[in-house]
Chain length 293, copies 4
């Protein structure tokens, strides 16, 4: 299929490459020329603007940092909506606020462009492997039509409901992940201060009801003090900000998320926003005055 | 082996039966004659007091509600220490405060009795199947000696450190589980209020970093509004109380645990202390004014 | 003095009238013609736009809901900066984010306009009486020059520091007030559930270390269930949102504010955003399942 | 009146001296001989045990650290109930759990002893001046009879309800004070990080709705970094522990208290339990990485 791909960051580059590998014809666009060059070397056509990246393609994919970037790339000057023909499908795979997805989709609809929001989970390793989890919102028929393309980038693609439902699901995902990282940190520090080796706690509890992907992936990082991302605290802060904004808009109070947000802000104030979110254990190390390992 | 078994509650009965099945000779004791009768029918000898249950046995197991019960059964009048010969091993499999384990072990040591604390995780179903997770503290050599007996009741038995380490590990486990149930509830209510079906969220996120044993086991209960325990809120409150007491004693602040504790108190104030801990979603239903499904 | 006054809401109208009473010449502007008419009847000149309200005046005062409104009125089309001559002083008395004050002041500086941020505390009654507390940021000399005008509206006007300091101080004020209302609610509900009349608790503690303006002003409202504002929950939510945004920007985690924010969101989700902020007691009534009086 | 006085700590000594000054005949008792000697030098008779201190007196006052101490002194071997004649009045002025007051009062009733719980607020300075705030629970007629004696020690004595109501009121007081200290700390740190001098914030807000006895008394201590107690964090932790225990018993969730409790635990883990509770600002200094002044 002829696809425009806008946003060649840490996630966007491997996702675009997986589309090329699957035989799709890509026109790519990014603020960083070296990223465009990297994809051009892999077989993509380069475009200067989102408008050019959209022009003449059936499908346009955006993979950008946050709501304002998507708004600008889609609705702004030189944006997708200036280049896309009616009937084009826009799949925004960025993680943004569901309300922003709905607003952008409304702007798309005025130009006859159909939009899905389809954020991903799994981070760079799964983007490289093409095994992301993709959660999508929008018209079911549109989703069914582009699903094969999505599965070039992900191991699963689940339709979650109307436009915005993909991002709502992603926010629910991020709420659970953040609180669970905090919970694991809190539990491991309790063990540590009580004189029990957190590594033994990990072994003893991982097979039971405390077991989780977070426990398996993040405890070893905490114990080895390896906080290379993975998923940066700054990005998790962005997601929790969107979750709180959404919760406030729809009447869902989020007390745990609000508490974990302030813990993450503590890390950011310490200049650790670029660390993996497992560095949240540092909040507990700060208040308990001892490192976990 | 000749074993005294004290405490034939929901957990104790199936655990004792598994020991009988494995060919061990049991002397059992409980406040409820009908529970004693049930085990007698299965081949155990009945004793009137912990002292009698301990007398003449190499190993004594206690499985009781909380610290005061264990103290009474071991150190009180008619207790284990009046009946146990020097050299006897006491394995307390109750979930109690680590500090209480250490105090009781010290009393045991004065009589030449060696104690392990070896609480379990997994609930009634795994007690019945003999697939509990057992986390133990105490002398390593003592643990190694009784490990085969423990494995008649559990799928795994992990040595976590000195006396009290088993209960510290159990508290760490309960801290993670409680916070994760709250996080899943919070995330599902966010989805619900934002118009997305929590069942779809469950499907979309369970394979990723938000995936956990709690998510898998508790989300369906929340969605079906099936709050038959499982593990009762009242018991989880007891565990969080022990976690907070321990955290305060060792200098480990537990902000999430403290927050979730107050959520659970809300449920208990509503008369739902006997519900499964997945009923914690009810806190969110209360503050958001809507049920999750 | 010749003054332009923009924003004739619940607070702006009595403030403008107090300036008229003190003999100042006012040109006023507001989206609601009836509010403009009310002030015209009191002796003010009517203007159609902020630009007109600013033109030819030495001093311009804005009293608007939040940052975007001030930005629009000052920097937007037909805004103050199109009408104000170099040397004009702009005093923004709205309660907005300190960062927004700084941005707007920078835009003013480009046109030779000097800006102070000077939010107020005290609510409608003190606006009517001219006894507001005014907390200001900006150049000290500019503050000293306009201080006499400010004291036509307030009982006190304190210089707090550079531009933005007025709003930072106001946010600090709102953080304390919000947490204290929650604390009083929590304490009164504890007494109520323990069988002690909250009115007696009020009498017994008001003279001691628990005594506060919040306790004196808000406890009677809670006990009489009189939640007519006063200061609306919706506005306090706006202020706490600005406090959290500011705290995140400057590296000051605000865990209590974040917790109280979610309590207030619970009230708003119940349709009580228009109630006085003392209605926060309703959060506790909801989780405890009983009213306080 | 002939009065037995048990407990001559920091508070008890000046309280007892004020009773002597008012002309009452005191028999005193304490674990520390030097404290007994100090009161004997001031005119009191010394007793070796609470039993002796109670014998032959119409009124017995206890002023002890926490529930177990009062239980021991009243109901234990050599305790008040072994010495007090039927008809004696016991006024426990310690700050303990309301449930403990009710249990001890029941034990008293069996011996014909009438008990009031009458904890105080105000700290050592007001104990010295005889200007404590006294909040009492128990039979109204008993309270009215001993009120003149109480007013030798306090500026006010308020009857709050049945037995336990005095301590419930004290807990409500301590809940408000703790949360307000945290709120002031949080607000001052927000100002500090935003570049505004907390001393100016104090001046600007103290006359408005943020004004409180806590703000007036504790902000200067924070700014001068003078954390000499006053009221020690360890004692406030004891009170919050009693508040949480009581809240859990009566079905009043206390989310703010639970959060502030963990902040105070952070200070205690740092070895600062002996500092004044205004040192709670240290929690914010820890997470923000900067001192407030």
């Amino acid at each position: 299929m002829k696809i425009g791909f806008i946003g060649l960051g840490i996630m966007g580059r491997p996702m675009a490459k997986n589309l090329l590998r699957a035989g799709h014809a890509l026109t790519v666009c990014d603020h960083h020329p070296e990223h465009v060059a990297e994809l051009a070397a892999a077989g993509a056509r380069a475009a200067d603007t989102p408008r050019e990246a959209a022009a003449g393609n059936e499908l346009v994919i955006t993979m950008l940092p946050n709501s304002p970037n998507v708004r600008e790339a889609v609705c702004g000057e030189g944006g997708v909506l200036e280049g896309a023909a009616p009937g084009t499908v826009l799949v925004d795979m960025s993680s943004i606020a569901p309300g922003a997805s709905q607003e952008i989709a409304a702007a798309c609809a005025e130009k006859g462009v159909k939009m899905l929001d389809a954020p991903v989970s799994g981070g760079e390793p799964k983007a490289v492997d093409g095994t992301l989890s993709i959660m999508a919102g929008g018209e079911r028929a549109v989703f069914d039509a582009v699903r094969p393309v999505l599965l070039c980038m992900g191991a699963s693609a689940v339709w979650c409901g109307e436009i915005g439902a993909g991002n709502t699901t992603k926010l629910a995902n991020q709420v659970i992940v953040a609180a669970n990282i905090a919970a694991v940190s809190e539990a491991m520090m309790l063990a540590r201060r009580a004189g029990v080796d957190p590594a033994r706690v990990f072994d003893a509890v991982k097979g039971g009801l405390a077991g989780s992907a977070v426990l398996n992936a993040k405890t070893p990082m905490m114990l080895e003090r390896n906080f290379a991302p993975g998923f940066r605290i700054d990005l998790h802060i962005k997601d929790l900000g969107n979750a709180l904004e959404t919760g406030h808009a729809v009447g869902a109070p989020l007390p745990l998320t609000a508490a974990v947000m302030e813990m993450m802000q503590t890390l950011r104030a310490d200049g650790r926003g670029g660390d993996d979110h497992s560095a949240l254990v540092g909040f507990y190390e700060k208040i308990a005055g001892e490192t976990i390992a």
